[in-house]
């Protein structure tokens, strides 16, 4: 894992004292709320319906046991005993007092964490593959490259007042577990024909009210120009992105309106210019960071078999455990989606328990996934049973990864001031309706995603089943879409037709799953069947 040196620590400390001063000026009234807003946003502090919400950055979703434990302690000390893991591989606290925030940031800084640029119109936390460093199909660990970009983007003086927020993801495998093409910039590292690592830049993807899949803009950019190319892509956006309408201000609109070719040639011109200015960190800097991401000291004699005799354990094993590149080890995903629970929520005790388990069983490392779950990346197969028993005893053993109850849901109207409808109670209802494990298992991989408004924080466009909260004459209403997907087969969902009430949408989802069960052919997932048979049979069943 990355470790701060004195420079990194100084920067974060400087930010804490800067923010302490800003909060003091706000409380004293010398900063108006209007002037304070962009400043607090750059420190991850939102004003929500009932309180302040603080979003803490978890760069590329990786954290240590000590960091995780502190997140649990913050939940106890400053919140109501819970933390909420988000689709951005971050954690949010929903009940924060303004006056406490400088102290929270100071606590975070002690374990090399921060809330820098977790909101506001700037470059946000860099996301990555939650299986980085452990996946069998990666060509290289993408996180050192993400760290290079994290440092470059931190307090970048030119890009602090972009037209809109800006999200970057970096991956290095064929299987895209980070929804890379739905980011403002998605970078895929790959080998070129000569075997050198190069970066493909996909620019202009996104969700929100105008979902778009990013086109390839930079094809095979040399790795020792990755930062410079990113800078060029951002400069063109900062200068030419729309600022007249906040709903048209994301880079996807710029790329769409001027066309990928025109955007590409502008970036290339800027790139040629910037290359003369020596903006790129040297190879030695990448090597320095990479040295902190060397694989842990795996036990090469660890047995590769697992005793599956406990049937409940076997179900969990089949759903929540993935193959590791190291024989004798496995990737464990801890579901934060218990039946009827709030997706992504964990109590302070659960957070601390996961921290302990990471220290004991996973070389002191955890990951947050964009599906709002937690990964223990390096668990000895021989430890799996004991680990599962601990999880099970603490409400963390739900065996539903990628099943219909592994729901992604945004905070919705319970917390968010932009929401049209509630997401959490709906997620809870759906989860209860499909609680039966055998039924979930029969439905197989089925990604259900809920957003409380068109901003799409719940990624509903990318759900095999997507639900969007809309406001119909002051009444909460839900729109259903089918056929979205992220990853290798990225696609955007299609709306079925008129919306539903809260109960109506649960029934409609159930009907859609019944159509799938009838129509599916050998080995097809829900989304495969939908793609083959199209919307018509689903529509017919749902609207009769």
């Amino acid at each position: 894992m990355y470790k701060y040196d004195n420079y990194d620590q100084q920067m974060v400390d400087a930010r804490v004292s800067e923010f302490r001063d800003q909060v003091a000026r706000r409380i004293a009234g010398t900063l108006t709320e209007d002037q304070f807003k962009p400043l607090r946003l750059k420190n991850g502090l939102y004003l929500q319906l009932h309180a302040y919400m603080l979003r803490v950055a978890i760069p590329y979703g990786t954290l240590s046991g000590a960091q995780m434990r502190l997140l649990g302690d913050i939940a106890d000390k400053y919140d109501r005993g819970y933390g909420h893991f988000t689709t951005r591989q971050n954690i949010q606290y929903n009940w924060i007092k303004l006056a406490d925030t400088p102290d929270i940031l100071a606590d975070l800084a002690k374990v090399e964490m921060h809330a820098i640029q977790t909101s506001g119109n700037c470059i946000r936390n860099i996301s990555s593959d939650q299986f980085a460093g452990a996946a069998a199909d990666e060509i290289v660990d993408p996180r050192p490259y993400a760290e290079l970009l994290r440092q470059w983007s931190s307090f970048h003086p030119e890009f602090d007042y972009l037209p809109r927020k800006f999200k970057i993801a970096v991956i290095a495998s064929e299987t895209d577990r980070a929804a890379m093409k739905l980011h403002d910039i998605g970078i895929r590292l790959r080998h070129d024909d000569a075997g050198a690592i190069v970066a493909d830049f996909y620019v202009g993807g996104g969700m929100g009210r105008t979902p778009m899949i990013a086109p390839l803009i930079g094809d095979g950019i040399a790795i020792d120009h990755m930062v410079t190319y990113t800078e060029a892509a951002l400069r063109v956006y900062n200068r030419h992105g729309r600022r007249d309408n906040k709903y048209k201000a994301r880079i996807k609109i710029l790329v769409h309106e001027i066309g990928a070719d025109s955007y590409r040639s502008q970036v290339e011109a800027e790139f040629a210019h910037l290359q003369t200015l020596e903006l790129e960190p040297p190879a030695a800097e990448l090597a320095r960071i990479q040295a902190m991401f060397v694989p842990p000291a795996f036990d090469t004699t660890a047995p590769d078999s697992v005793d599956r005799s406990d049937p409940d354990f076997a179900v969990w094993l089949d759903n929540n455990v993935h193959a590791h590149k190291q024989p004798g080890y496995a990737l464990v995903t801890i579901s934060l989606k218990p039946i009827g629970g709030i997706p992504g929520d964990a109590s302070a005790d659960q957070i601390r328990l996961m921290a302990d388990l990471a220290q004991k069983h996973s070389f002191d490392e955890l990951r947050v996934t964009h599906a709002q779950n937690i990964v223990l990346p390096h668990v000895k197969k021989a430890d799996l049973y004991a680990l599962w028993q601990m999880l099970e005893a603490n409400g963390l053993g739900t065996p539903n990864l990628d099943l219909i109850t592994d729901i992604i849901a945004c905070p919705g109207l319970d917390y968010c001031s932009l929401a049209n409808a509630r997401s959490i109670p709906l997620a809870q209802k759906i989860s209860q309706r499909f609680a039966d494990q055998g039924r979930q298992q029969d439905l197989g991989e089925l990604k259900l995603k809920i957003s409380g408004c068109i901003n799409a924080c719940g990624h509903h466009h990318a759900g095999h089943i997507g639900v969007l909260g809309v406001d119909r004459k002051g009444v909460e209403n839900y729109q259903l879409s089918l056929g979205g997907s992220e990853g290798a087969d990225t696609s955007l969902g299609q709306i079925t037709g008129p919306g539903f009430s809260e109960d109506g949408i649960v029934d409609a989802i159930e009907k859609a799953t019944e159509v799938y069960l009838v129509k599916r052919e050998n080995g097809e997932r829900f989304v495969d069947t939908y793609r083959r048979v199209g919307m018509a049979p689903f529509k017919e069943a749902i609207y009769g």
């Binding site: 920067m11 003086p157 900062n238 030695a284 800097e285």
Partner: protein, 145 residues
């Protein structure tokens, strides 16, 4: 009259900046003017042929949230402009350090900022992560000497 906070020692240019359009217009142009004012939508690169005769470029920030002026400033400095680069308009204290890093060396904020507060704001960052046009060595350069 807005006070100008200057971080340079030469004589201040008194003339108000002319617009980019009137500066570069081939017929009625005032390319003999020594001061120009850039609006957020103006292309800073239109000025590149004339940099050696300019003593002042004012970059207007009608609203602090419109960050195009940061790119304009860097572009001018990257092209070798050495005259005064002045941020005018909705320039707030919390923006000064980033503006300074992008090459601004004078500030004419709508709402007065004291010299002392401005000095402190500009010194916010002990070190920096990026190479820009302010001559500071980025952290990666310090690490690898």
């Amino acid at each position: 009259m807005v006070d100008v906070l200057r971080y340079r020692t030469d004589e201040m240019v008194g003339d108000p900046g002319v617009t980019v359009d009137s500066f570069v217009d081939p017929v009625f142009g005032q390319t003999n003017a020594s001061a120009v004012r850039l609006e957020p939508g103006d292309d800073a690169r239109a000025l590149l042929p004339y940099l050696d005769r300019l003593a002042l470029v004012e970059v207007n920030f009608p609203a602090y949230g419109d960050g195009r002026g940061y790119s304009s400033a860097r572009i001018l400095r990257e092209a070798g402009y050495t005259g005064e680069l002045r941020a005018v308009g909705d320039v707030l204290i919390d923006q000064l350090s980033h503006m300074h890093r992008c090459g601004f060396d004078a500030f004419a904020p709508e709402h007065a900022i004291t010299r002392e507060a401005a000095d402190k704001a500009i010194a916010t960052w002990p070190e920096v992560y990026q190479r820009t046009v302010d001559g500071r060595q980025p952290i990666w350069a310090l690490r690898h000497g």
